[in-house]
């Protein structure tokens, strides 16, 4: 390289989409939270290996609430993506509608999860399986709640006109977090609801 000369060119000021420090910070958050769930699911796998099949509850977990919940959560990822895309295209009405839809779907998932919890005949303290089930799904619900709160805050900011088709990092980050929460759910769903059937 020649002398350190620098040709000044016009640079964006402040957060610019994926170049923003905030975006990278969000990726770090997702990485560390992803590890947390990896260690949680490791614990499940460890117990499964250590105790064998007898460790599972007698009946395989029902898909009555969990399957609709899964479909709803995946749909909410799509609406979150749609919301951001609409904002980038300058369609504010669609952006707001899709964002509201995402929040509502998140709340519906939470309600379904509460039904799911009520339908279980084991408890947090009745067995190691129960402890793991309620702890892991509880951790995930907590993340859904945080996601809903952050999307709602972003919705408020959007209504107040803080975002433009170019500048909407808060929405980008909140939806990335939301997608992450959904992906985690797929891993949790697979672990608790699918593996017992194929084991």
């Amino acid at each position: 390289m020649a002398d350190a000369v620098y040709e000044p060119r016009s640079l964006p000021v402040g957060s610019r989409e994926y170049n923003a420090t905030g975006w990278l910070g969000a990726l770090c958050l997702i990485a560390t939270e992803g590890s947390l769930f990896a260690y949680l699911l490791f614990s499940y796998a460890y117990f499964a290996v250590q105790h064998g099949k007898a460790w599972l509850p007698d009946a395989h977990p029902s898909l009555r609430y969990s399957l609709p919940g899964t479909i709803i959560l995946v749909t909410s990822s799509a609406t979150a993506w749609w919301s951001e895309r609409s904002l980038k295209r300058g369609d504010r009405a669609q952006h707001l509608a899709a964002l509201t839809g995402t929040i509502v779907l998140g709340l519906v998932f939470l309600i379904l999860q509460l039904f799911e919890w009520k339908s279980k005949h084991f408890t947090l303290s009745s067995s190691a399986y129960g402890s793991l089930f309620f702890t892991i799904t509880g951790f995930h619900m907590l993340h859904v709640i945080v996601g809903v709160i952050s999307l709602s805050t972003v919705l408020g900011w959007s209504l107040a006109g803080y975002f433009s088709p170019r500048r909407h990092l808060h929405l980008t980050i909140s939806s990335a977090y939301w997608h992450f929460v959904d992906v985690v759910w797929l891993a949790v769903f697979f672990t608790f609801y699918i593996t017992p059937y194929v084991w």
């Binding site: 002398d3 947090l124 702890t135």
Partner: protein
Amino acid sequence: MTALRTGDWEDARRPDLARIENDQPGERLQKIWETGPGLKGWFSDVDHKAIGKRYIVTAFLFLILGGLEALVMRVQLGAPNQRLLSPEQYNQLFTMHGISMIFLYASPILTGFSNYLWPLLLGSRDMAFPRLNALSYWIYLASGLFIYAGFVTGHGADDGWFNYVPYASKPYNPGVNMDIYALGLILLGLSTTVGAANFIVTFLRTRAPGMSVNRVPILIWGTLTASVANLLAVPSVSLAFFLLWMDRQFGTHFYDAGKGQPLLWQHLFWMFGHPWVYAIVLPAMGMVSDGLPTFCRRPLVGYTPVALATVSTMALGFGVWVHHMFATGLPNLPLAFFSGASLIITVPSAVAVFAWVATIWTGRPVITTAFLFFASMIVLFVIGGVSGVMTASVPVDWQLTDTYFVVGHLHYVLIGINVFPVVGAIYYWFPKMTGRLMNEALGRWNFWIMFIGFNVGFLPMHTLGLLGMPRRIYTYPAGMGWSVQNLIVSLGSAMFATGVFLTLINVWISRKGGERAGPNPWGAPTLEWSVPSPPPPYNFAVIPLIASRHPLWEAQLDESPARSSLNEGLLLDHGRETIGTSMLDGEPNLILEMPGDSAAPFILTLGLTLMFIGGVLRLWWLAGLGGAICAVALVDWFWPRRVHAGAETSNG
């Protein structure tokens, strides 16, 4: 990345180039970057230099506490059948000693130095997330006070720093001791995690123009590697402690021997614990890699192998945790695998050792106190490394596990590769932080007393272990053949402590009375030495343009005709600004708007602390209140900006 042309961007600007002349542009930047006055300014300070110094001072206070705890234990063990401490008191002391040194000193001290140094090494005006930086410090302080609150009220953690179940389970430890430790460590984990994220993004985005990844100092590689590891490993220990707390508070069955699995604790703890061991030495090794060449008057031998060795040590470090569990009755296959991995990990460590030796060998060493500390680390690292390789072998480990041999090994590693480089770093960077040199004559006494005291005190621990003395015993009978060596260990430890005390005295007297340092007293090659000592709040009056790995040695080394531009660079004075550059090549691609003073980190910490106090005392309303405070602080924190490119914005 999206293909937006930068010119199309709303609020885009062409950064001005400027030359430093007299007080300009520094005087103008001073007004923009200065922290506000008074107590409010103190609590809302986000300057990485202030935060770094707070980290260093706080970590040293914990080092002193941990050291005093160790000395009391050494008085007890200096002779057989001593009854100064009851077994219960001894348990709390060795536990608090371990927690203080490993969690509250060893990592935070390195975070402190990195916090202070990173932006100066990288040619930036602050870390990527200044408020997150402040948050990281406040939570660290809160967690330290939290854990020590248990100790001073007689409810200190008392099952060792690695806190094995079932000892730590409710039936065998019914007090709140363990609940305090569990939640305190989760709190500390938050601090470590946000700090790690900050280092990673700072590395990726805020290097000066032209500072490609192959031009950053090794300290940056060390802290970066440790940070990535922390990001991935800390959740494991936080989870381990959270599950313990659940077992204790809500009767879950994670760790009990009936329905749960006690070994889950050890897995989760050591999956974190072993990467952590490297996280608390790699940045210190980085300090040596950067400090040693300054005094050898030549660049580090093998920059690229050393950087790669740093990263590969960490990668391997994730695959060796079971060597802490060789004696737990695992099958042969994992024993063989983890034993092999633990032997292989010596290879990258050896790369660094040979690079340092070659640097001294082929250089023209200038013997200063800092040099002595850095160079002696090599010796201590080799001793600690060799005893480590010994225990990587399963049969040897079976013989030595839970004996004083392991105590000797871990102290050689942690004191040798952490404390010695850190004291060296104090001598090396103290002039940068204060503008004054430390006293060299006192420094020699300081070094030799520490070095001799350490070896006299800690080398016999190996033979004590070979003679069968177990670790964590509060006393021992006469006639075991351990008495004389224990006395030597106690005397040596006292001498070592005296040496550490001399460091503090030297800091104290040199703070005001030391010789004036000037910007670059050692003739060092890296960017922090291009700015005044102590550096102004904005660090760099103009953001320098970098052409090589050693911007201040280009004339002497003359490796290429390219020269860095230190006195002429990017001005960026429309508010608190610094440059954002591309991840690999360091090409400018964004003007970063930096936040000003903010009380949000402190308030968020208060909220978190209330939450955790509620968790210990089972006051759920208090935990809820803390959570609400956190939520409000976070919304305020992330409040978006409407206006860009102007000095008038202050939030963001």
